[in-house]
């Protein structure tokens, strides 16, 4: 019965494999119950605020500062991760050295380690009496409880996004391209900077965008090391939590809406980069 109705609607191509209705039914109901209905609740509550109220909440000075700190530190951390992530991916793909397999596995640590654990560990290290903090203190550099601390935490959580996006694309590079460049007289540095890196640009951009998006929303690893000083080191997700604790739901909703709009714009950009890179290079980033 399902098959005949489906064919009439041209919703799906006929298939002998049973279970389409059940599988899609489970998928869609679960998706609606868990993700779409709760998220549309947020959209609905935002639109219920009305434009003037939303605008004044979104442009509140503390909110704007929190958003600026979140996006600024996430951008800086993603930039650091691009540099070191690409080096790390290159080393893991091209070189042999003892302990390589362990290093490769350790790259995923930020995916596996709960963010709160990372947060207190980084704070312990970078606090003025910590392992690294005590070395930097005499130089007048404060990391913990400053925006620099936020960047450190976001470098931690974002690193695997860059490495794991760039690494598989690097593995696909044809050695012949490099050989061709070398026979045409390019030095090794020229081959890498003019031939290999441009080809990796879409993957690197995707990794940057993923690390950036993750950094903007990150909460657990940041709140311990940030010091959470309003206007200085208070991130947007924390301000949402503070507004919730004050039962100021409209303000929490407005900040969340602004963050979601920017994140979805980022997601769209990532997808466009991927589509563009597939067209241009024949492999996805």
């Amino acid at each position: 019965m399902t098959a005949s109705t489906a064919r009439r609607w041209q919703f799906r191509q006929p298939s002998v494999i049973p279970g389409f209705g059940l599988a899609l039914g489970v998928t869609l109901s679960w998706l609606f119950l868990i993700v779409l209905i709760p998220l549309s609740g947020l959209v609905w509550r935002t639109s219920a605020l009305g434009w003037p109220a939303f605008w004044s909440l979104a442009t509140d000075e503390r909110t704007v500062n929190a958003l600026r700190i979140s996006f600024g530190t996430a951008f800086a951390a993603a930039a650091v991760n691009v540099v070191f992530g690409v080096i790390l991916a290159w080393v893991l793909v091209r070189y042999k050295f003892p302990g390589k397999r362990i290093i490769d596995a350790v790259v995923d640590l930020p995916f596996a380690l709960p963010t709160a654990v990372a947060g207190i560990a980084l704070t312990a290290i970078y606090a003025p009496n910590g392992w690294i903090g005590s070395l930097l203190a005499p130089l007048g550099i404060k990391v913990a409880f400053t925006p620099l601390g936020i960047v450190i935490a976001l470098v931690f959580v974002g690193l695997p996004f860059v490495v794991r996006t760039v690494q598989p694309i690097m593995e696909e590079i044809d050695k012949e391209v490099e050989e061709a460049a070398a026979t045409l007289g390019a030095t090794r540095f020229q081959t890498i900077s003019r031939v290999l890196l441009p080809g990796l640009a879409p993957a690197v951009l995707t990794g940057f965008a993923l690390a950036f998006a993750r950094g903007v929303g990150e909460y657990g690893s940041v709140i311990f090391i940030a010091g959470n000083l309003p206007y200085v080191s208070e991130i947007a997700p924390l301000l949402i939590v503070i507004r919730l604790e004050e039962f100021n739901y409209p303000a929490a909703t407005a900040i969340a809406a602004v963050m979601l709009i920017i994140s979805f714009a980022m997601l769209l950009i990532i997808n466009l980069i991927q589509a563009w890179s597939r067209r241009r290079y024949g492999y996805g980033a």
């Binding site: 919703f11 298939s15 002998v16 494999i17 279970g19 599988a23 899609l24 489970v26 998928t27 679960w30 998706l31 868990i34 993700v35 779409l36 709760p38 998220l39 609740g41 947020l42 509550r45 070191f84 080096i87 070189y95 596995a105 350790v106 995916f111 596996a112 380690l113 709960p114 709160a116 654990v117 990372a118 207190i120 560990a121 980084l122 312990a124 290290i125 392992w131 690294i132 470098v155 931690f156 996006t165 490099e178 050989e179 070398a182 026979t183 090794r188 890498i192 903007v216 929303g217 909460y219 311990f224 997700p237 939590v241 919730l244 739901y249 909703t253 969340a256 963050m259 979601l260 994140s263």
Partner: protein
Amino acid sequence: MALDTSAHEVHHHTSETVRTATTESRIARYGLIAIALCFIGLFLLLPLAAVFTEAFRNGPGEFVTVLQDPETFSAIRLTLIVAGISVPLNLVFGVAAAWAIAKYEFKGKAFLTTLIDLPFSVSPVISGLVFVLLFGSHSVLGPWLQSHGIQILFAVPGIVLATVFVTFPFVARELIPLMQEQGTADEEAALSLGASGWQTFWYVTLPNIKWGLLYGVLLCNARAMGEFGAVSVVSGHIRGLTNTMPLQVEILYNEYSFVAAFAVATLLALLALVTLVLKSLLELKFSAQIAASRRH
């Protein structure tokens, strides 16, 4: 050297001995390896070491004592309960979603795949916030829930919902590329030989995807047990009742019970290490079944 074979051999050993036009100089190689190792050591291994050092700061005796706190026990219990409910739920969903997306051609498939990934691009705090807006006392559902004595927020159901939300895509996004790569030929063969739909799933599809499935479950579980932001927003932090392990770490830390906080953190760090070891083993042994999805 003039022989093809020996030239071939030299080419294979270039990284140790001879430099060719497609390798970097020895200094550049060692320099890059050193930078990579320093970065990993500084940003990843040092924090891991700090967790264990801080937990054992006052010796193993105190480590054991602080872990015997009944509140910590109930936090461990709650974390296991929440992961025990949300991981199987997302496992069933993930298999169903991958079956629908990988085995059939239908309209709006790409859009559906994007929607499944949606929770990954939402901040954990916002993932918690949406459930506060849905079930809180100011919401549409709030008064009705209250009058019927149903507690969702600041109770276990809310924590489970938030955890299911943040771990939603893990199993599905692991299985979809794998099952797409495997195609439908095996299932069609089984069906043509007279197997029923469920028999085909249990005896043909499931054995094909079991390692990829385990891989997805592993990552899903690690996130479910370690989730902090989303759970923090919906839990209400009621001691001994709605605190999961990551929340217990935060509470102890904010009370300056550093050794206790890091002791609970070691348990979570061990979970992370076990996850990484199992993940690497799966990648090593069953790369064919996982390779498809390693490209995020």
